[in-house]
Subunit: 363 residues, 4 copies
């Protein structure tokens, strides 16, 4: 119940404060005998890493993951190692712990941050960089997700991309390849829109302000039959996983909120073959279970709460104060959130993939 | 992992197919010694019950809950009984099981229903009325939620209402009392909008079509500090609970998707006192934890998939067929979904309420 | 955490007080498509049922289980029905609720019963027949266990028998067939010992006294590889399951306590073939995982706490009182505990059987 | 289900192979604001540490625990730090990884070890020192248990001691202080018996043989009311926790197996005051819940399976081979198992201590 674990059969438990010695976790439930490329895990981390360009925080972290257990010591010719079926332990050391940056705000609550709520909850908080509430926590999700990805069928592809940011969105009629998301620092796969976003973000950064946006995600290759009835619908578990990412404030599947204004005769997806429908307003999920069509969802992120502009707030004594947040912050969380979205989707799908092995007599 | 349980400390496990003998469940983890009014549970069920008016399904069910355990046999003068701290078992018999209605569709997949996906998952399905995938399952959620509500602090009020339906929404500048939702059969608390919705629904019903919409919900009286960091954020658990309701396709907290287009300098909620912010763009949740402001979220429902119009689909042999769905169906799920939303919110909050008792040394 | 659920993948949640309206439960996680003979469940219940002979309690209960969900409505020619993969709900009505028997002891704590401890825990108790602490609760374990048995491989046989009772044990060098346990009302498969036990039990009953004893259990047909490392060893999970049975006070595997006095050179089980060892001092479990040899364990039960002799105790005011327990009680719990032991073993093994399907890439 | 986690509210997840880079874990659910002395954790580890004397393995490990999260950075004057309420991550590096010792046995199954069963389960194993099946895993239990101990009430004392070893036991009528267990390398608190044990162990070691024995444990200061009904009885959870320790083969509470031969009129514990009984045959647990008397149980350990004598076994090809186990091994596991028993008891009790905070309305 304490909230640091995710998953049922494949279960991740994580730890780490932003400015403590290290982040890390345990991934339990990985089947034995799977050849894994641990370099792919590092590559996923690199995509999330701060300090990469002018739009991301200047914090310098190498984010090198160290695996402590769960793999057979012998490597094959491509450097892959086999899972033992035992729990996989890993840590990422925190290198750049300039916690002096944060002393000024020790006694003040940053607006729309977790400072006040953590203190209300626990009666104590590690104020250095947000402690456990920092998005630095997501580094562990990326590690586990990159392992889960290697458990999933090879033809399953999770393709998140930045669809809107800073008020600028990909035009509805634009054609683009979601895999191009990694080609631009904004994470937007439509080059023209991406350039507009970049310009707007730089303008906001210059103003000491920040932006939000929407990450959309397609998932190809999910067979029909994944997800559980009632409480653990595929959509419910994805919503649970994704709304647990810092700054996420909304999620919709298929035609989502827009579809709520439509009619059944328009929205219903007519079957044209097993696992195939004429339209995909359902976003690949019917009755909480995948129907063989691509999954599709959108995830809304609020503008990042750390802005350089002066703000009104209160201190721990309840007195009104004007505060100025120093430190290193991105103007938008979305570009670096792409590998995190991918990781959480992979963890959810891996759980259902394993569950599905035991739900039919002949499976 | 099999998806029929919800909650951690207060945990509900349910069972029942739409046309089987009964629905029921076990609610475990309720503290001992709480005086409960079991009539209130029946009243919540009555609000969800079908066959109440021209807009809801004609299925006739009395939906009488029978409690089988968990309460001391003695009643106080108001008929209340005390929880024993043991698991609470309950059943609701299914009375109106006209399953002959469903024989025609035994071999065809209704579009945007769970027929195909259940069969893909399990290799077998109870085709009578959707079996386990039927919204009839939610009767158990309402029972458990009504008990959870009586565990929560007396001043905590969960107020869901229909904000949009059939393309008609409460005007942004309208003033209304969310508690008026129960006064109109549409569940919309704004009388003029409600009447418009009713007219539109009746028109759709006459066409054999159906509508979707948006339920909004305010929750007053949640103290600061509820919710868990990282994976079990209050928003993540609410999303998990609510996206598990049949036909739910999207959820947003506070300013949600609209806020994603805004800026940090506008969206941030300035603290003006402990547990009080000048605006509430966060919807009462910051860093995944309640901040003392009212919770606010919106839940999008797709148009109900059962329509009387003829539709294209395939049968179990994969052949294209034209199908006509008979049976008893609402033109929209939203009015009857209000007590279900309330129940799921109560279950989530009760879990965090209990969790919060053990997370501080002096709590 | 509230203690009314058991199992991980196959999970049973139960409810019911001894003198409430009904006992029941939900079994979740049963795979779909398994043909089950529900008459076998009733037969298992019949073996546990009270009122069968002079050695068991005179309470009259038909103990008819009613299944409420989880099975396809159609029966095959032998009356079997197929699992749907959905949760299985069931109840057993309590018929003989002579709770007036218990009013005398409402304010006194029966020695070595749960009266005092339940009140210390919950601040309230249902005093009628022990409420939730009554062994009547085990009726639900038997139902679930009989379903789990039908999930397990057909050649897996769980064979518990009464090895010692009332101070009388099967001679160490005696030869007997454990399956003969069901042939004698004592549950002892060695006829001569069984008759001695019966005589001693009748003598104790005449004195208003009670007996304890030891149930031993062989399990044949468990393949090598079941069980989990570290915390969920097969022995640990069996101990957990079996020590949760009322009146159980000890368990040992293989040579157990006696083996603790031996030496490694004597105790070690030499492998003679894959899945076969020359001796079986390990009781079929090594490193917490089944090794292919038959499982063997012993479970010690204390003498039943309900005796007719007058006893010293205190009342709720803490005053010393002499008390006389009326009501219907067995002189020993062991004969009726055999199907309960069998059920709990089946539940544990079914969980590991399902787990093992997902722990190897090629499983 | 993968077996590397223990506990419900306070939950430990561990990782690490014997000869991998490090052991470690995550302890989640620790309440916030507790001042903890992390030196006490190291001291508990030191008591478990190998290489301390002639009776324990010669493996050289400093076993220095490094805490990575969960504590506020500031220390008080005694060097204590406060829990943050966040998950506590920790690692212990493996220093002495002489895995060459184990290459000889890579293809052979050591009798009564986990070599064969792990391979049957996973199809792969890390043969170096037993990998995950090594008792080295227990180092993480000791860390978590030492933290749990500091959560428990200060007057609660867990006192395990070696009661029997190598066939030598403390005389039934001997008087001794269980706290003296730490004063002798055998862990036996009765000096004369302890010396006899030591002599016998040294003799066995000289023969290349090994011994088993029994650890008894008293727990003082457990209030009445801890434990859960039905499946999670205090005795069931303790059995689960303790039978998960390597080489444990039996457990009994109170008079256990001996009491099973007795009568109700003798075994029943008469109440003489609230939380006090005239005798303690129940071992402090009635109806699965603590009754206020000291807990008492015994845990049987088999003789350690690693002996230097030549043994018969098979190799991975199923051929009969004679094998000689090299490496570093204790003649008995019991002395070093004392802090492990203490740790597991602390983890179980901490879970119930926290659970009890939420089970009564006024708790």
């Amino acid at each position: 119940m304490a909230g640091n674990s995710f998953g049922e059969i494949l279960r991740l438990s994580t730890f780490g404060e932003s400015h403590g010695p290290a982040m890390g976790g345990v991934l339990d439930g990985m089947p034995a005998g799977i050849w894994m490329d641990l370099q792919q895990v590092q590559q996923a981390l690199d995509r999330r890493r701060p300090g990469q360009n002018t739009l991301t925080t200047e914090r310098k972290e190498q984010d090198v993951v160290r695996f402590l257990s769960g793999f057979h010591p012998e490597e094959d010719e491509s450097g892959r190692r086999q899972t033992l079926g035992t729990s996989i332990g890993f840590i990422i050391e925190n290198e750049d712990q300039r916690s002096t940056d944060y002393q000024a705000i020790q006694d003040q609550y940053r607006p729309s941050h977790a400072d006040y709520t953590y203190e209300a909850k626990y009666g104590i908080r590690d104020h250095r960089g947000g402690g456990r509430s920092s998005a630095r926590e997501t580094v562990c999700r990326v590690v586990a997700g990159a392992l889960a990805t290697q458990l999933l069928p090879a033809d399953l592809r999770i393709l998140p991309f930045v669809e809107r940011m800073a008020g600028i969105g990909i035009p509805a009629d634009a054609s683009f390849d979601p895999q191009a998301a990694t080609a631009h620092i904004t994470g937007c796969p439509h080059p023209e829109t991406a350039e507009n976003m970049r310009g707007q973000l730089e303008a906001l950064k210059a103003l000491g302000d920040s932006a939000g946006g929407v990450i959309a995600c397609q998932v190809h290759g999910v067979p029909a039959g994944w997800g559980e009835p009632v409480f653990d619908k595929l959509s419910a578990r994805l919503a649970y996983a994704l709304m647990g990412i810092n700054a996420a404030k909304g999620i919709e599947f298929g035609s989502g909120f827009a579809g709520a204004d439509s009619r059944g005769s328009i929205q219903n997806d007519a079957f044209i073959a097993p696992g195939q429908t004429a339209t995909n307003h359902s976003g690949g999920i019917q009755g909480g279970i995948s129907n063989g069509m691509p999954l599709f969802f959108r995830l809304a992120f609020k503008p990042i709460a750390s802005i350089k502009q002066s703000q009104q707030t209160i201190n721990r004594q309840g007195e009104a104060v004007e505060m100025q947040i120093e430190g290193r912050h991105d103007p938008a969380v979305l570009p670096r959130a792409l590998p995190i979205v991918e990781a959480m989707v992979a963890l959810v799908l891996a759980d259902f993939y394993l569950a599905q092995r035991i739900q039919r007599t002949n499976s």
